[in-house]
């Protein structure tokens, strides 16, 4: 276990109490993580001491801000081991990253082509492809899950026909916690000349991600699920692909030369960053990366795995509770249903005890439908959670059962 006293001190919000005066047990980390003081102060320091617009200012602040912003990009590159910082595009978050790819690379999809996704995708990695398929008269195909909520790899291989131009899948399921064997899947897809986009939103705070080792063509993630502020995220794309696809948004910062008749666009990565970006957000993301590196991803993973294991074991022993899925590898997410109790009623009663969880369909309505569920209660863990937090969760679930039974 990580040293909890030190970690708790890093997250001021964890000292909050709920309306009933109960201390906070924050188990909604798959929705967004809390922010350590190091990140909050880094953003604050940027605005206090370095704020200016980037890439245009001649004055010293403009030069400083530009240098800070580009250093953040380099920090992201190192964190995911991209080959070049040109392959790191700052966006608002995973949703925008996926939309960027569907709106640009998607132009290469034509009538009769196929797009492959999985049954466990968040709406953000489903709706853009579904809409693209409608527009292009392409076909959207879905890799099903087996009973344990792992991807059915045999069916995947059958679905991977020569017509599949793009495969979009999550690294980790936000609803179940399933960790997908992305490297193997990418290898198979590439043998089929299929481009692969990985939604890494749930992975970044829990696993080392090496995009060159995974060999994926695109990797998308949000800062706010890895201790950074909301509003900043990253699209990694292989240079060879990014340089051949059109810009996503048009405007300032992304141009080389503009006349009334035509425009030539900036080089990578600026071609994809129209307008003034979220510079403070990038600073926060870089500070979050420093924070994760300081603790060590492996230690974080070991810590949250222990919590997840305890939650799985203890919840499974409670009568009337069914944990959803039993994947081969599970990240720090436990989704469960409670017999006779609606997830939102359960979440409200847990909230009364100070235990913050997510309830509902988790933006994966088709997955819920395929599992025959309307929704689940989801507890998701992070570095600042403790074994006692799991105890509080289990006790509170039992209290709610008693109250609503």
């Amino acid at each position: 276990m990580l040293s909890m006293n030190l970690l708790h001190n890093d997250f001021p919000i964890l000292s909050r109490k709920n309306r009933e005066g109960k201390s906070l047990v924050y188990l909604d980390n798959a929705a967004t993580t809390q922010k350590p003081i190091q990140v909050i102060e880094a953003v604050s320091n940027f605005y206090k001491n370095h704020n200016a617009n980037i890439h245009r200012g001649i004055h010293f602040l403009g030069v400083e801000a530009t240098s800070i912003y580009e250093d953040c990009r380099e920090k992201v590159r190192r964190f995911i081991n991209a080959e070049s910082s040109d392959e790191i595009i700052f966006v608002r978050g995973t949703s925008e990253a996926v939309n960027l790819v569907s709106g640009t690379f998607g132009e290469q999809i034509g009538e009769g082509d196929e797009i492959l996704i999985t049954a466990m995708e968040h709406h953000s990695n489903l709706v853009p492809w579904q809409q693209l398929a409608f527009q292009k008269k392409a076909k959207l195909k879905v890799i099903p899950l087996n009973k344990k909520c792992d991807l059915d790899l045999n069916k995947f291989k059958k679905l991977l026909t020569p017509k599949v131009k793009l495969l979009a899948l999550c690294h980790i399921s936000n609803s179940i916690g399933t960790v997908n064997p992305v490297k193997n899947i990418v290898e198979l897809a590439h043998e089929n000349k299929t481009v692969v986009l990985v939604d890494g939103a749930q992975a970044m705070a829990h696993q080392s991600v090496d995009v060159q080792d995974l060999d994926c063509d695109f990797y998308a993630f949000s800062g706010h699920k890895m201790f950074a502020p909301t509003g900043i995220g990253v699209l990694y794309g292989k240079r060879s692909i990014l340089k051949n696809i059109p810009p996503y948004h048009y405007g300032g910062e992304m141009i080389k030369k503009v006349t009334f008749n035509k425009t030539s666009f900036a080089e990578l990565p600026h071609k994809f960053e129209a307008g003034t970006p979220d510079i403070g957000g990038a600073v926060g993301l870089a500070a979050a990366i420093d924070y994760i590196n300081e603790i060590g991803v492996d230690k974080i993973n070991a810590h949250t795995s222990e919590l997840t294991e305890k939650a799985l074991n203890e919840l499974s022993e409670v009568e009337g509770i069914k944990v959803v899925g039993a994947p081969k590898e599970r990240a720090a997410i436990v989704s469960f249903i409670v017999e006779g109790i609606h997830p939102h009623d359960m979440a409200t009663l847990l909230d009364e005890d100070g235990v913050a969880v997510r309830a509902g369909h988790h933006c994966t309505m088709p997955l819920m439908e395929s599992l025959g569920l309307q929704g689940t209660v989801r507890a998701s863990f992070s570095i600042y959670n403790t074994l006692n937090d799991v105890n509080r969760l289990v006790q509170s679930v039992k209290r709610a059962q008693h109250k609503l039974s």
């Binding site: 609606h342 939102h344 009623d345 409200t348 309307q374 929704g375 609503l404």
Partner: protein, 136 residues
């Protein structure tokens, strides 16, 4: 803080009133909450301007089922004017803008302290009255 799960609400959620499908109803309305995917159908007839045979059916939380049951209890047999008065009273209780003395609605008053659950209790009522307005 007042208990959101008043015994009357728990009772109505476990044994909802008028919880049945009526595919031959004169009007069938869908009530869907995209936040939680709760989904009901509301069934009713209108005879000489009065609401008759009001029922509902579907999937939802304790609050939404209790609220649907209360709609069945209070609105059956009323005309538009009479039913709208209850809807206005219900909203004033939930929004804490008034305190009408209606025992059937009073158990829902703690919802005012739970903004995330307001839609749960208004879902069926809202869609029902939208349909009444459309018919009018």
């Amino acid at each position: 803080m007042a208990d959101l799960y008043h015994p009357a609400i728990l009772e109505l959620s476990k044994n909802p009133v008028g919880f049945e499908k009526r595919p031959d109803a004169q009007y069938i309305v869908e009530a869907y909450n995209p936040v939680c995917a709760d989904q009901f159908e509301i069934f009713f007839d209108l005879k000489e301007g009065k609401i008759e045979n009001l029922t509902f059916h579907g999937y939802g939380c304790a609050l939404s089922k209790a609220s649907g049951s209360t709609a069945v209890r209070l609105l059956s047999g009323l005309d538009l004017q009479g039913s709208t008065k209850f809807w206005n009273d219900f909203q004033s209780i939930i929004q804490n803008t008034g305190k009408p003395d209606i025992p059937d609605l009073e158990p829902f008053s703690p919802v005012k302290d739970h903004p995330g659950r307001i839609k749960c209790v208004t879902l069926i009522w809202e869609e029902f009255f939208k349909e009444l307005e459309r018919i009018k």
